[in-house]
């Protein structure tokens, strides 16, 4: 064991899916995916109220227009954007020959892209939610 570790770096670097960025992005991908799926069921159900009556739909949508749901929507968009960009990263790891080599750097690109889109979205959305 001792000779084996001495030939490698002492700090574990992780692999594609075991430890560090590879594993935690996989965990986050699962959690966000499950969250989005549960929301999707509710989202199709409430949108179906347009088939009942305009006022039924408007009444339910009106109950969503408060800061608590507004913050939930911001979190949901954050989850969707992470899941989308990390999904592209997973596809690049699987299908691009250099993907596994750069999977860690690609996670930082996912984070950068996420911040880049979340900032203008949060400005727009939170001013709607809290600006009345």
């Amino acid at each position: 064991m001792a000779t084996e570790t001495s030939t490698r770096s002492v700090v574990p670097q992780g692999t594609l899916y075991r430890g560090r960025e590879g594993m935690w992005s996989w965990v986050a991908h699962r959690i966000t995916g499950l969250l989005i799926f549960v929301f999707l069921l509710v989202h199709v159900l409430d949108t179906s109220l347009v088939r009942v009556a305009p006022e039924a739909y408007n009444a339910v949508i009106e109950t969503y227009k408060n800061p608590v749901v507004g913050l939930g929507e911001a979190g949901l968009v954050g989850a969707v954007l992470f899941h989308a960009f990390n999904g592209i990263r997973v596809m690049l790891v699987d299908f691009w020959s250099q993907g596994p080599r750069f999977h860690r750097q690609m996670l930082w690109a996912v984070g950068a892209l996420w911040v880049l889109l979340m900032v203008p979205f949060l400005v727009r959305h939170l001013s709607n939610v809290f600006g009345g």
């Binding site: 995916g33 199709v44 949108t47 739909y57 949508i61 592209i88 203008p120 709607n128």
Partner: protein
Amino acid sequence: MAAPSLEAPRSTPYRRSTSRRSNYEMYSWLFMRLSGAVLVVLVIGHLFVNLMVGDGISGLDFGFVAGKWASPFWQVWDLAMLWLAMIHGSNGVRTIINDYAQRDMTRIVLKTLVLVALVFTVVLGTLVIFTFEPCPVGPDGAFLEGVPSFCTS
């Protein structure tokens, strides 16, 4: 000295491979990636048009939905998004159930629930998109309360 001759391998009526697995999980894996690539475009487009353009989330009401579904473009967009997202999501939850539910019965029950939710939601959503009436009228023939302004003009 005659050249050594080799018999042809006895292949035909016998299966040399003992594996009779189907490729179901490989196609499931591939579907997640292909549908995911399409969903990135469909969902981010959906979020941009509904939350960023115009009045953003404050502008959402029956009239907003009616205005979108008056166009076949958004009907097809939302239909594709509904089917792909529901199958992608159900398949993802199926994977999670297979990973964490240890008892056979637990897996069967949970996956049945996911399948029921999948079929119900896809059928309901598809019916709503195709039978949607932007200017619904009541039994008296008058427009219902809350119809968009383009119905009366």
